[in-house]
Structure formats: C-alpha cells, structure tokens
Amino acid sequence: MIEVRNLTKYYGSLCAVNGVSFTVGDGEIVGFLGPNGAGKTTTIRILTCFHPASAGSATVAGHDVFTESMAVRARVGYMPESVPLYVEMRVREYLRFRGKIRGLDRDTRERSIARVTERCWLTDVIDRPIGHLSKGYRQRVGLADALLHNPPVLILDEPTIGLDPTQIRATRALIRELAEDHTVMLSSHILPEVEATCRRLIIINKGQIVASGTPAELRERITGGSKIIVEIKAPAEQAATAIRKLDGVRAVETHADGDWCSLAVSSDSDRREAIFRLAAQHDWPLRELRRDVATLEDFFVKIVAGARDAHSVAHTTGDQQR
C-alpha cells in the first residue's frame, strides 16, 4: 500500500530524511517511531504530497506521490500533527467543506458526516464552533476529517499527543478498529503508544531507519542481555564469588547496602533457581530475586542513543580529518 525507496529530503543544507526505504502492506498497521526531530513528520509529509522529496521515490496505493499526486491525495486520509482547523467554523460546517473539496456529492457527504461523527464521538459538539472545543475534541475533528472519504490509507501524525489518558485509550481502540479495513501508518515519539496499537514498528533516528519489525521481534533482539537482580543478606564479595561459579553466569556487579547487598547477574539463561539454592545452602536471607526483562523502551533508548553515539563519532573523525 505504501512503498518508499531511498527517500531523502533536504531543508537547505539540513538533511531531515536520509535514504529511508520501507513498505507497508495492505491492511497493515505500522508505527513510525522516533525521537523528536528524527524525520517522522518530514517522511509523512512527503507521503501525503505536502512536500516533494529531494531524492528517492514513494508510492501510496499504487500511485507515485510526485507524478500522480492527485490520485494519492484522494486515497489518503491524513491527520497532521498539530491538527490545523478553521477555528471560526462549526464542526459540521468544517466537515461539509472538507467533504466538498474531496468531491463527495451532497448525499454521500451528509451520510459520511453522520458516520464519522458517530465513530469519533463528535455527536455532542457537531454544532459547536471548533474554536470553543478542547484539544481532545479538535483531535477527533481532525480524525473525523481524515476518515470522511473512507480512504484505503490512513496516515496519522502523532494521533494521541496532547490527549488525556481516557482519550488516549479511546483513540487507540478506535485506531485498532480502523485498522480492520484500512492500512494505517501512525507516528509517535512515545513507544508504549505504538506498541499498544501497531503490529509492526519502524524506528527512525537522525533521518535514517535504525530498526524495524514486530514488537516481539524487536524484543527478542535484546532478551539476550537480560539480567537477574538479587538482593541478599551476605558479605558482598563472598556472594559474588559464589554466584560467579554458577554455570552460564557471565558477570556479576555488586552493590553493598549495609548488611544487604544487591547483585546484578548477567547470564546466558535464567539462573534464578540456582541462585535460590545457593542462598539456601549458605543460609543467606533473600529478599529479592527477579529477572529484569528488557523492555522495548530500553531497546528504543539504546538504539536511539547508539545511533547518536555513532553519529557523534563520525562527526569527530570528520573534524580531525579536516
């Protein structure tokens, strides 16, 4: 549905997106994740025909975003990040206007407005001026607008930013529901957000894709580095030496805290049972024994930080050469 090849965008001399390639299949729901300024919005704006790319190409619903811009625009429902609206208009007037410029005839337009207002919980505010609505309601007006012409592709830029927790849940549920009959691409800089709604994640940083895959796949890539956290009442050195002797233990970090000491045990496999037996054998009281499962959040932070380090290294060597 969406196919992006080597997309590059420069703003003056600043490279916002650098050779990004990915595809989003029919009916997929994909999260586009990255820290602020990673190039998410730029990529999305190219896909929605707001900006042309500096290099590379992209097709949406089988049409090239540059040469067949009108066909793409007719098939995409887009909600920009800041949800710009005409504040002086009432919700119904606004949706009517949007329906008109999307080429919906009067009957279809009125039916579509009824459908999207119900779906986005706007029925209560349909005759209120948009300027009087709260951020949450405006966000829903933006979403209603994106759904108005029932497009096969939905592109949502930060759809839940600025909403309260209840609204976030409701919006997530709505997006999941929409994914049943639409191809959805949404962006966010908050990982739990995309993890909760998307089946596949694309992580972008500094204008480049640093990882992509299902949340499970991404998580798998980091569980190898999992740790066991032990808090034990024992002399720190003695406990550490004993644990190091266990099979599969690679390293132990200790941190003494009065009579107690806490140990972070890196191991290839889950060694909790062995640690428990060891403690029982030495009669060391144990108050905590848990496996510190790396979260996707850690992964996200790690990749983003990693990419940043690599970037700064590249910069320093570049400077030295100069």
Partner: protein
C-alpha cells in the same frame, strides 16, 4: 470548479465572520460618505454626478483592498491549515482562484454599498446613469487587478499585517504618485509608465468610455498576479 467554489465559500464565511471584514467595509463606506459630503456631490444647484467620489476612490482602495485580501493565503500558512488543504485533492490554481474570488465578491459587496448615493441622486436629480455605471465597471476592474496583487502579497508571508503592508505600499506609490512619476520620466520610460498608469485607465471609465485597452490592462494584470501567486504557493512546497 467545485473545489474552487468550496474554497471561495469557506473564505467568504471567514471574511464575514472576522471583525476585520466589517471594519474594512465600515471604514470604506465612512470615507466615501465623507467624500460625498466634503465635495458637495449631493447639494442643491450642483451637477448631479458622483465624479468626485469616483476620482477619490482609487486612493482609498490602495489601503482598503490589501486589507481585504491580506488574510486570504497568509492565514492558511499561519494556522497551518495549508497542510490539510494542499494534501486534499485540490490543485494550487483552484486554491488561489477560490481565494481570489472570495476577496472579489467581498469587494463587490462593499462597493455596492456606495450605490446608495447613486440611488439618492436618481431620486432627487437626473444623473448620467450610463457614465456612473461605466465608473462602477472601472472600479470593479481596478479592484480585480488590485485584489490579485493583494492575494499575491498574501501568499508571500504568514503574517497578515506584513501582507497588508506589502500590498498597500506599492499600490500607494503607484496610484498616489502616478502623475508625478509620469511627469518626471523621460522618453520610452514615460510611455511605459503612461501605459500602466492605473489612474489614466480609470479616468477613461469615469468619462463613460469603456476601452478595450483599459479592460485588457486590468484583467491582464489580475491574471498575471494570480499566476505569480500560484507559482509562489507551488514553490513554498519545496522549502
């Protein structure tokens, strides 16, 4: 066509919704009213003609028309609605023409407010209606050309006041000092300035003459600036 009309309707809605629209209309009607009063256009014993009003109006319009057109495109940039508009299946030309037509309709409605003086004259005297209608046609065409310039300046910035200034200053220089410029220019330059002298063209209409040259002049400048506007809107995408 439907897109152009939809954009025009929406823009008109905003123009009539904003206080600026009403202030502009009130300001224009007040000034023309004062001109009628000061020039003694409606007074016993005077010839029943609105000539002096028509002579003064272009000076006022250099300020008023940019105030009508200033918000058309700049406001879309400021509020960010340009993003939802240009990602909908609307061409840049439809967008620009829709905006332009809205400003033109607003201007026409405002200008129609001054018809009251013509009607008063027809009740109490015997004015040359044909010549007055020619003058109105002249003002409409002048408005068409000024509005196109105003929409063009509105496309250059996201700030309405900047758009107003950018529209007003060149128009003022051009209209207020037209006679001076023509007088001091020499040779070919002088002929060129005479050709594009807005007041000379308008004067034709005020004499009751509708010449092809003047009609084409106003329409051609309007088309020229609308073309430039679409180019500006297009080029802003690349930034």
């Amino acid at each position: 066509m439907r897109n152009t009309i939809a954009i025009m309707e929406r823009e008109l809605f905003s123009l009539f919704f904003s206080p600026i629209g009403y202030i502009v209309v009130a300001g224009f009607l007040l000034i023309t009213g004062v001109i009628v009063l000061v020039t003694g256009s409606i007074a016993p014993g005077k010839p029943a003609t609105l000539r002096s009003v028509f002579d003064f109006t272009p000076y006022v319009l250099t300020i008023i028309i940019p105030a009508i057109s200033m918000r058309t495109i700049s406001e879309e940039y400021r509020s960010g609605t340009i993003e939802t508009l240009t990602t909908a299946p609307v061409t840049d030309t439809q967008f620009v023409i829709g905006k332009y037509l809205a400003a033109m309709i607003f201007y026409t409605i405002m200008l129609a407010g001054t018809l009251v003086y013509l009607v008063l004259m027809m009740i109490y005297g015997n004015p040359d209606v044909g010549a007055s209608l020619a003058s109105y046609l002249g003002l409409l065409l002048l408005g068409a050309s000024f509005t196109a310039f105003g929409v063009f300046t509105s496309s250059l910035t996201k700030n309405q006041i900047v758009a107003w200034m950018l529209g007003m200053v060149p128009l003022m220089l051009f209209v207020w000092f037209a006679a001076f410029i023509v007088q001091h220019a020499q040779g070919g330059l002088r002929t060129a300035f005479q050709k594009i002298n807005v007041l000379r063209h308008l004067d034709q209409f005020n004499r009751g003459l509708i010449t092809t040259e003047s009609v084409v002049f106003f329409l051609a400048t309007a088309v020229f600036f609308l073309f430039l506007t679409t180019k500006v809107v297009e080029s802003r995408r690349w930034r």
